[in-house]
């Protein structure tokens, strides 16, 4: 086991306003090689190994979101979740100050009242505490955050021996910040991906989950998947070997299953051979019902969609989702309920396969029409930046100025998410017509009318329980 210093470490561009941590707590980062050796000694599988094993056994790996400000409470939280919820992977969800590199704010909140933080400020606590967390549980950890520039966080995570890291230059920018240019976030994430490549060469495969969930609300499947394809291609080019493509449950059973099932096909089409690619379902990411029973129906439904869609991993929600960050009990209950969907007893369940096949073809065509012009450009990252500037790439409800958000999604009468407006997306007339036909919303063009309709579509699962039978 070598602890030799790693000269490349200084090659990383300086990051943001610096850690701003209590200086006595945080030691300088160890070398990459030391971190790789540390992971080997940890005696637990990496996230990539857990995912590979889950896929081989044909079950969906389960992972909750979880993050609190205090280090002691974070330790307890992880241990309680592991003991009672039996997850396959655990999260460190990072607070939103750290995400935006407002490290001073994170530190101030940590001093004043750690409970005011909506996640664990890993950079502020430092990598040694990261290792303590890692050692406190038997399953691997993933960092979940939302940082347009995650370089310091990534270095801290690797130093902590954490083997899975969420995000991407598009998906962790547009939904999460207002004024960070895409060129900056793409460059920062290229650095992260390159580091993953270096680590892979040192023998440590980091699972890189792409946040196809985006702004989570009414995301058309082809937009989610198209952006994941672009991020995946970029990541693979930097040497990333294990990619998790996260897809947000939209709420329409066959559409969601079809979307998940496109992932292997998309990987085969667009990624170099030998890249391990997993489909990950994020349980419904829009507004959750408040009633506990309704929320649990939605949780179980999501878990079944993951299984039937062949997802390798499921990120779970809780019945407290509509209220706020869940308490430990609710988080455990969410895991335990989702685990039911893995039951060997449910192998008799079938779906409408014709409907799914049709939907799958449709999604694949939409994705192809969106990504192929970008992939054809001589340089990928600048092509992405330009495409967003012109609207040829776009997402609905962007939090950022750097996407036009001219795309308007709506729900069709059957609940499926379709394009009402495709903005500047280079979709063919055939596909545009299919979307129009599916929607056939009629309804006024008037603003108030449109907002009411959109609000109803967004709040789909707040009313889906009022009538028995199908949601609509």
């Amino acid at each position: 086991m070598s602890h030799q210093p790693d000269s490349e470490r200084t090659a990383l561009p300086p990051v943001g306003e610096g850690p701003g941590v209590a200086a006595q707590a945080v030691a300088p980062l160890p070398s990459l090689a030391e971190s790789v050796a540390y992971v080997r000694e940890l005696g637990k599988p990496t996230a990539a190994e857990v995912l590979g094993e889950a896929r081989a056994r044909g079950r969906v790996a389960l992972q909750p979101r979880c993050g609190v400000g205090s280090h002691v409470q974070m330790t307890t939280l992880l241990q309680d979740l592991e003991r009672h919820g039996n997850p396959d992977i655990l999260s460190l969800t990072i607070d939103s100050h750290t995400r935006l590199k407002r490290f001073d704010k994170a530190e101030a909140a940590l001093r004043r009242n750690p409970a005011d933080l909506n996640g664990y400020p890993l950079v502020t606590h430092g990598w040694q505490r990261g290792r303590q967390l890692n050692e406190s549980v038997g399953v691997p950890l993933e960092i979940r955050h939302g940082s347009p520039d995650a370089r310091l966080l990534f270095e801290t995570a690797v130093a902590s021996g954490i083997t899975s890291f969420e995000g991407g230059g598009i998906s962790y920018n547009l939904p999460y910040s207002k004024a960070v240019p895409l060129s900056e976030s793409l460059a920062a994430w290229r650095d992260v991906d390159r580091r993953c490549g270096e680590l892979a060469e040192l023998g440590l495969v980091i699972d890189r989950e792409l946040f196809g969930t985006l702004t989570a609300v009414l995301v058309p499947p082809s937009i989610s998947l198209a952006i994941s394809v672009l991020e995946a291609v970029a990541a693979a080019r930097e040497g990333v070997r294990c990619i998790s493509v996260a897809y947000p449950q939209g709420g329409h059973c066959e559409q969601d299953v079809a979307a998940l099932r496109t992932v292997p096909e998309l990987a085969a089409r667009y990624l170099p051979e030998g890249t391990e690619v997993h489909a990950v379902l994020h349980e419904y990411m829009g507004p959750f019902p408040k009633d506990r029973g309704d929320a649990e129906d939605l949780i179980l439904y999501g878990a079944l969609v993951a299984r039937l869609g062949g997802a390798t991993k499921l990120i779970t929600k809780t019945y407290q989702e509509a209220y706020g960050i869940p308490d430990t009990r609710a988080n455990i209950d969410g895991l335990v309920l989702a685990a039911r969907a893995n039951s060997p007893l449910l192998s008799c369940l079938r779906l409408d396969e014709d409907r799914i096949a049709e939907e799958r073809e449709w999604i694949l065509r939409e994705v192809a029409e969106i990504v192929e012009p970008v992939l054809a450009a001589p340089e990928l990252l600048p092509a992405i930046v330009e495409s967003f500037a012109s609207g040829r790439l776009d997402i609905p409800f962007s939090a950022s100025r750097y996407a036009l958000s001219e795309v308007i999604p709506r729900r069709a009468p059957d609940g499926a998410i379709r394009y009402q407006a495709t903005g500047g997306l280079p979709l063919s007339d055939t596909l545009k017509r299919r979307n129009e036909q599916a929607l056939a919303t009629g309804g006024g063009e008037e603003l108030g009318e449109m907002v009411r309709g959109l609000t109803a579509d967004i709040n789909y699962f707040l009313t889906a329980f009022d009538t028995p039978g199908a949601p609509r």
């Binding site: 704010k105 909506n118 999460y176 706020g324 869940p326 409800f397 939090a399 001219e406 907002v451």
Partner: protein, 156 residues
Amino acid sequence: MPYESGPQSAGSAEPRTRTVILGVAASDSHVVANHLIAHALRAQGFHVVNLGTCTTVGEFAEAHAEHPWAEAVIIGSLNGHAYEDLQELPEARRAGQLACPVIVGGNLSVGSHKDSNDIERLKGLGVDVVLFDPEELPATLDRLRTPVAEPLPVAS
């Protein structure tokens, strides 16, 4: 382009139109409610200066300096950091900035078990009105219109 809502479009508003300044708190990127509220207020005839997500107290103050006739500053916060993100509010107020009602709404603290302290401590920072349902905004704005001679008193 129904979702365009940058501050760029704000400067030219004439005092005759009722104007509000809208945005989401500094560490917060939840934008959907923000979009919908902006649309809804516009549909009611308001001129909405929408600063979007991740807006600091300083940015709200600047926007108010540009639109001194704005009836209110309306701040959404969903990620639980409302109190965090408004730490600079008392100082801004003391400096004579944001001399109009400040309305805050959304999900105002971390965790699933809320209590009234969430509201009190925001009022302590100088927030004038705390709302949860956006539908109450128009009536609240009407009510607040009753002219106030000087900045609303700031508690604590």
